[in-house]
């Protein structure tokens, strides 16, 4: 790859060689976990071949139209590349604060946001870069915000954990675990009262699933039949603690029944499956069919935040997920199999995206910081 323009650009910009889109090659031969029953009722137990909560589910083979597939592939690659560069920027001391990376979970945000219109709402989490990009945020504004610059989405006031883009319905990421259940449900109430057919998607994690306000908000969504989708990204760990150690149900989706809400569980590595499930929920919500609870089973390939070595999980477990549940690899394989893409085309997209992300990093590095007196603006309207 000595003649690769991306490598050359990287060298010219003195960007660290660390980031790469694919953290490790996908083991095409590794067997998918055998499930005697559908995952909905399958026991989520640890084993060497299939760690707990793998979320396996019959994968769809029929692809949506080529534009949609390519767009989803590109967006997932964009998120992966962006996050690799956030890692790089962080470890080189170019950004202040904390960074919680979405690597490994790209299919959830991309599948879900592909099912949404621009005027639909999302609320996001501390691990929110993927949600923001999937909902339409620009790379430059994202990276500038993460570095605390004036050109950032929040003009340097929010940072990595609070990126919002109201122009595309992104009501913002939230630093409080479970902090956006109310906001998303309220946006759905607002849509209903204003008689639009907008829908709100509330992203949250397995950790937030144990916050009490979920029960309050979900109950109101049911009694008032609100167009909201609670999308739980079960990435197996709430910070450092395995979800099953602190959660009274084996499958979080089982709580939907208690709320009086429809629930679905989906393989969060399978962007096609996520798209299908969220599309169904969105269609229902738009037609006045009320809320849906979706548990997407996923895994974060990195620690809780950059700098967390994740010693609370085994190398074997991580390797299994990376080998078998890399959402980008899974979609690429489907695209190749269906003849929608060639290796060269897939690689070309990666390279284009990489160039764009590097340009965003450079834009953000060059961008000015806000004037200190701006700290006193925007407190009140």
């Amino acid at each position: 790859m000595a003649g690769n323009p991306v490598i050359a650009l990287r060298r010219w910009l003195s960007v660290s060689p660390h980031p790469r889109i694919f953290s490790r090659p996908m083991a095409k031969s590794s067997p998918r976990p055998k499930k005697s029953k559908p995952a909905r009722s399958a026991p989520a137990t640890r084993s060497k071949s299939a760690p707990r909560g793998d979320g396996a589910r019959t994968r769809r083979t029929r692809l949506p139209d080529a534009d949609t597939v390519w767009s989803m592939y590109r967006k997932m690659v964009e998120i992966r590349s962006f996050e690799e560069h956030v890692w790089d920027v962080y470890t080189r001391g170019l950004m202040p604060g904390l960074a919680h990376l979405y690597i490994g979970e790209e299919a959830v945000a991309v599948g879900a946001c592909t099912a949404l219109r621009t005027d639909d709402y999302i609320t996001s989490t501390h691990r929110g870069h993927g949600h923001c990009l999937a909902k339409g945020a620009r790379l430059e504004g994202m990276m500038a915000e993460i570095m605390g610059k004036e050109a950032g989405y929040c003009r340097g006031k929010g940072g990595s954990m609070h990126i919002a883009d109201m122009s595309v319905g992104n009501l913002g990421a939230n630093g409080i675990v479970g902090g956006s259940f109310g906001i998303a449900t309220g946006a759905a109430l607002s849509a209903k009262l204003r008689k639009t057919d907008q829908v709100a998607v509330c992203f949250f994690g397995d950790g937030a699933a144990n916050q009490g306000i979920l029960m309050e908000a979900a109950n109101m969504a049911v009694i008032w039949n609100l167009p909201v989708i609670y999308l739980c990204e079960n990435n197996q760990y709430g910070e450092h603690t395995p979800f099953e150690a602190v959660t009274g149900v084996k499958e979080i989706v089982d709580r939907a029944k208690g709320f009086g809400m429809d629930g679905e569980r989906v393989d969060g590595a399978d962007v096609l499956a996520v798209l299908e499930v969220i599309r169904r929920a969105v269609d229902k919500a738009r037609k006045g069919g009320g809320p849906t609870f979706v548990e997407a089973v996923t895994y974060r390939f990195k620690g809780h935040h950059v700098g967390d070595a994740a010693g609370y999980r085994t190398k074997e477990e991580l390797a299994w997920w990376m080998d078998n549940k890399d959402p980008i690899q899974l979609l690429a394989r489907d695209m190749l199999k269906a003849g929608v893409a060639t290796d060269e085309q897939l690689l070309a997209v990666q390279e284009q995206v990489e160039v764009e992300v590097i340009a965003a990093v450079e834009f953000a590095r060059e961008a000015p910081y806000p004037a200190p007196e701006q700290a006193f603006e925007d407190v009140y309207s």
Partner: protein, 333 residues
């Protein structure tokens, strides 16, 4: 207040009716205004502040919420961010403690954190005040907690006229406003203009002019201070009573000007004394009026105990007229 020479027509209504009128007028004026809370609908609210609204505006705009304060205040924040102007009612101010994440971490900060991308046009109405033998979880005056939070506004009216004018301004404000209503004032009568009017947030009001001592008071403590002023007048001491009306934005100029004029100031508030409103206002006064003062700025507030149940225990914990009168006498010794 009685009608002045300009003779704008007024009528006498209760504090409760003033609150209800303000909400009704704003709901007629703007479809985005909704009311959400426990029992606010058909039943008209436990304090009857929303009587008639459900019949006029229907259950889509006067919404009976489940008993889930954090949840429905959270929904109100989301609705406020997306084009609505919710009024969330918390039956007892004590229940606001269940909503702290939504109000303090979310509503107060979202505009700022997003670099000014959105408005949180939310009004939260909540009751305050002891004196009804409701014990420690239904009697607190917690306005200081919210006045402490950048991003929130806090209104704390003392009479029907102010309640109506301030509430209408709060509903039209594009920021989260906490609106504190003393439960013991709901039946109080007062003159209110016939015609529509607004009172801007952030203007203190001199409820009684005087030259000898300044009584700076909030909510029901204003009425108490006016009573004390009558007692003092009989002794030849003319007290000026300044009604703060809003804790944020705070009209420090009016308060400080009065303290400079009289040379003595006492701050009276029903919140707990320690780290409270009285300390903050006393600080504002001494920082800006020190050279004009002829004595220390005194504070009269609730005792630093949870509010007890039995009336013989409860009443000594909250300010009364005698304490104000005694404080003035001690100052002018």
């Amino acid at each position: 207040m009685t009608a002045t020479a300009t003779a704008k027509p007024t009528r006498e209504i209760t504090f409760r009716e003033a609150i209800c009128e303000a909400m009704a007028e704003e709901m007629r004026r703007d479809e985005a205004v909704i009311l959400i809370g426990e029992d606010v609908g058909k039943s008209g609210g436990i304090f009857k502040c929303s009587e008639g609204l459900w019949a006029e505006f229907g259950s889509n705009r006067v919404i009976d919420a489940p008993i889930a304060e954090e949840g429905y205040v959270g929904l109100s924040v989301g609705a406020a961010m997306t084009g609505m102007r919710p009024i969330a009612e918390l039956m007892f101010g004590d229940f606001a403690l269940l909503t702290m994440d939504q109000l303090v971490n979310q509503a107060a900060k979202i505009r700022y954190m997003t670099g000014g991308q959105c408005k949180v046009s939310l009004t939260v109405r909540l009751s305050m005040g002891a004196g009804r033998s409701s014990a420690a979880q239904h009697s607190q005056s917690l306005h200081a907690l919210f006045a402490h939070i950048p991003g929130l506004k806090v209104a704390i009216p003392s009479c029907p006229r102010d309640a109506k004018g301030l509430l209408k301004s709060a509903i039209r404000d594009d920021n989260p406003v906490l609106f504190f209503e003393d439960k013991l004032m709901y039946n109080d009568l007062g003159e209110v203009p016939e015609q529509e009017y607004l009172i801007p947030l952030g203007q203190a009001d001199i409820k009684r002019p005087g030259s000898d001592v300044t009584l700076v008071a909030t909510s029901s403590m204003v009425g108490l201070s006016l009573e004390a002023a009558e007692v003092l007048a009989a002794e030849g001491i003319e007290a000026e009573v300044v009604d703060v009306r809003c804790l944020y934005p705070l009209d420090a100029d009016t308060i400080v000007a009065s303290a400079k004029k009289t040379g003595y100031a006492i701050v009276i508030d029903e919140g707990a004394a320690r780290y409270g409103i009285t300390g903050e206002l006393a600080s504002v006064i001494q920082e800006r009026a020190f050279d004009w003062l002829d004595g220390p700025v005194l504070r009269i507030a609730a005792a630093d105990v949870p509010i007890p149940f039995s009336p013989v225990l409860e009443l000594p914990t909250i300010p009364d007229v005698a304490r104000v009168v005694d404080a003035v006498r001690s100052l002018r010794g």
